[in-house]
């Protein structure tokens, strides 16, 4: 190879790498991180990106250079030089990629260990700030619910989190496999029926973020969303206390709260509850539907919740409404039925 051709090759490589770097820097690729874990993931992302841009620039430069310089003239009938290989080169392009992927693996393994880490209270200092907040995440078709054992198993349809405190999510599912993801937290974990998977999140930015199901779970998969709210610690405490009061005794369980906390609104339309989803039948028409089923309204609603396949509204498939609501506590079930029947038109 001549000196000039090396210079040209390097030039093309710098241009290609530069363009790729501009695309990497000026397109806002990553969501704004809102947790410590997401910040670390972003570091791995940029570490890999730098290496990938270098490899991309090298490959692109060689291809472009070859396209321009080694083009055969039309109708030309000549062969290239019979070069069969070069042991030195082959060792180099085996060893360098091996070294690069080793480096990426090491960085990834360290970050993974840090992101998995949940600080547990030591026996010596049972200090409140060190204790992780445990939240049980329960997924079902097609709704999320979040339980706070520290607050008397308070259940919420949105995930409320205190700022700067490591949260241990214990994720499970009642029916099929779902997956819990908040893009701004960077962390994701499948919700598998029959087992509990843990996930650590340390929110470090106040705000509202989407909770998304990323594992195909059936008809309503696309709308299986909720919201994660990161609140300053004091605000979080007052939210939790307030909710506890609202859902306090069995008599106080208002149907509207049960409706919201069990994610009914992620599939149904029901104006009194502000629900507008269209996966399942429109609950604003409950009276007509009960007539079609030939049952009294109250009985029809109760049956449709605990045994949804008993009557299927025409135009909707079977086996979509989960059967898991039959395990709702009786008081909550009754107030839900009362709420639906009372507000139905």
């Amino acid at each position: 190879m001549r000196r000039g051709s090396i210079a040209q090759l390097v030039g093309i490589g710098i241009v290609c790498g530069g363009v790729a770097a501009l695309v990497a820097i000026f397109v806002p690729w990553l969501p704004d991180p809102a947790s410590r874990q997401a910040g670390r993931i972003d570091f791995v992302f940029w570490f890999v990106t730098v290496i990938c841009i270098a490899i991309f620039a090298l490959v692109a430069a060689v291809i472009i250079y070859a396209l321009v310089k080694f083009r055969a003239a039309p109708g030309e009938d000549m062969d290239g030089p019979p070069i069969h290989g070069h042991t030195g080169l082959e060792i180099v392009w085996t060893a360098i990629p091996a070294a690069l992927v080793t480096a990426i693996s090491i960085v990834s393994a360290i970050v993974l260990a840090k992101n998995d880490h949940i600080p547990h209270a030591s026996a010596a200092a049972n200090a409140e700030p060190l204790k992780p907040l445990v939240v049980k995440v329960i997924a079902q078709q097609f709704a999320w619910s979040f339980q706070y054992p520290a607050f008397g198993n308070l259940t919420s349809a949105t995930l409320e989190l205190p700022l700067e405190k490591t949260v241990e999510l214990r994720i499970t599912s009642l029916d099929v496999t779902h997956s819990f993801w908040v893009p701004e937290f960077g962390q994701k974990q499948d919700a598998v029926p029959g087992s509990v998977n843990n996930l650590a999140i340390t929110p470090d930015k106040v705000g509202h973020y989407p909770v998304i199901c990323t594992e195909l779970c059936g008809l309503g998969h696309a709308v299986m969303r909720s919201r994660a709210d990161v609140l300053p610690a004091q605000q979080f405490l007052s939210w939790a206390k307030g909710q506890q009061k609202k859902l306090g005794g069995p008599a106080g369980a208002s149907g509207k709260a049960v409706f919201a906390n069990n994610g009914c609104n992620s599939c149904h339309t029901f104006r009194p509850a502000g629900a507008t989803a269209k996966v399942g039948p429109d609950l604003d028409n409950l009276k007509q539907e009960a007539q079609r089923a030939g049952q009294p309204l109250q009985q029809f609603i109760h049956q449709s919740i605990v045994d949804p396949n008993a009557y299927i509204e025409p135009g909707y498939p079977k086996n979509v409404m989960p059967t898991t609501f039959s395990s709702l506590p009786k008081a909550q079930l009754d107030s839900l039925v009362a709420f639906l029947a009372g507000q139905a038109k």
């Binding site: 969501p31 670390r40 993931i41 791995v44 992302f45 890999v48 990938c52 991309f56 490959v59 692109a60 060689v62 070859a66 396209l67 080694f70 083009r71 055969a72 062969d79 290239g80 019979p82 070069i83 069969h84 290989g85 070069h86 080169l89 082959e90 085996t94 990629p97 992927v101 080793t102 990426i104 693996s105 990834s108 393994a109 970050v111 993974l112 029916d175 099929v176 496999t177 997956s179 993801w181 893009p183 960077g186 994701k188 974990q189 499948d190 029926p193 029959g194 087992s195 989407p210 998304i212 990323t214 195909l216 059936g218 008809l219 309503g220 998969h221 696309a222 269209k278 498939p317 086996n319």
Partner: protein, 647 residues
Amino acid sequence: MTAVTHDVHDVHVAPAPPPTGWRRLLAPGWLRVPWMMALFFGIGAGIVVLVRWAEGWEPIWNGDVITTVELTTVPLGFLAGLGGFDYWLRYASGAPTRPEDHSGHGARSWRDYFRINTDHKVIGIQYLVTTIVFFVIAGLLAMLMRAELARPGMQFVDNQTFNGLFSVHAALMIFLFVIPAFAGIGNYVIPLMIGAPDMAFPRLNALSFWLLPVAGIIMLASFLAPGGAFASGWTGYAPLASVHQPIGAVFFNMGVQWAGASSIMTALNFLVTIITMRAPGMSFWRMPLLVWANFTTSLLVVIATPFIAGSQFFVMFDHIMHTDFFNYQAGGYPLGYQHIFWFYSHPAVYIMMLPGFGIASEVISVMARKPIFGYRLMALSLLAILVLGFSVWAHHMFVAGMASWLRVPMMVTSMVIAVPTGIKVFSWLATLWEGRIHFYTPMLFALGFISMFVIGGLSGIYLAAVPIDIHVSDTYFVVAHIHYVLFGGSLFTIFAGIYFWFPKMTGRMYDERLGKLHFWLTFIGFNLTFFPMHWLGIQGMPRRVADYVPRFADLNMFISLASFGLGASTLVFLYNMIKSWRFGPAAPQNPWHSLTLEWQVSSPPPIFNFDEIPQVIGNPYEYGVPGARHAVFNGDREVELEEAPVR
């Protein structure tokens, strides 16, 4: 159509006279198919009714169970009617076997492509045409998906249909297009490349082809099943696929069985052919790299495919027979499905990629007029990918909740695969270096393949790094990645292979200008469609959704428009293929001045490939070496061939 220029060899057996009158209904062929299918339908329904009656199970006529059984028996009736089993049944029943008169070998008219044919060249073309039909259908399903995704909210289809669309799209593209299209190219080219008169088991070869339309029609028919098509993705994760699906799910379970059986039989055929039927002098280290690639791919297929067959049977048993393999309430293990499934489906990625590596090596070496750089390391890296490919399956499961200690070892093995893959890419680049490059359409697709596959490989590094994978798995980033490796990788090499061997297969040249137009439209449309998906995924758009948040609306509209352009580019390809096959100028024997054996015979080749047995005397890629030859033909050997036992 293939013009047959050589007569069938005289084997001293007069062919049986064709049957006449009602006896034609008994002869293998399309007249026997309808009543055989009806008969086997009756047998299937009879078995179910009889068993249920004997056991006292109500109702005796159970639609779901009968459908499941019929998906086994009716295809058997179809194959039996067509004549797929005649020879073996006769042999197995002790009746005297019919002497082989080669009436089922070679194509004399277009009708010969529509029956059981034992000629690997006919079968190769049958494979390619069939797979392209399914490619077009699966592509149209993708167009419907993109139409729905152009705006947020629901416009054209409902949720069940949408989930069916992407499930069938993926299943057809994988099981009915990419895997069998490579098998088709291999079927045509491999026996010629190694100097063999045919595959080792021509009747088995014919049967493996006819299983494909069966599998494809079963998968498509699921749209007609009550409740709609299977809608749990091509991955069919249990328990969603096993208890929460309409009967359409069984069509997927059974379609995979038929397609899987087809690829296992083809792979065994390739292995035996390559191991035992190489021409004199064709040592393993003189085999063209496409032969090496098909050899490794076939090993992958025979080792891995039984796992997906098993996983689909388990799911089907859970669904129909109410077993509890994946039912956690009865002690089943939902993650078990994912482990078994990916133990096939990760190697399947290489089943869909290694033959493409082989095609790229052939095209690049011939069209750069240089020996392939580092031939032995190229072959060894295929074997390295084969071995490593079985140690990485759980990188699909980093967020699945499997044992957390398993993640780092799986990350390391996944990363290590980048090394043999990198060797291949760098060796192709070194082959280009100082070559005399001819930019014919196959070369454009081969170079497009390298550049797109590098992007797909680099996004694979992101996905192998566990912390990044946790963020992007199950998002559009994954959709972008798999399309860069399967579309930019596999499909580009399939196109390269089709254009490259088109003159050999049809005896005619394709239209070079249309070929180049096809390449540029595909290349540009592909990048506009799939590159933006990386951003969508990282930002928070999950995959397999019909509806999404409004902030992704504009980019999705852009992607949909680009994808329609990409779809339209296929029309250029189809027009070129059909027009050139019918009216193209006659192709010379060796239009690319290649050294490998398939180009040393006429286009299309004689019915038994070689009138003389070639003697391999050198390496296949000795471009630029003065006077070098890969093989010589010895006129004296003609007598020997005439006396050789007929296969």
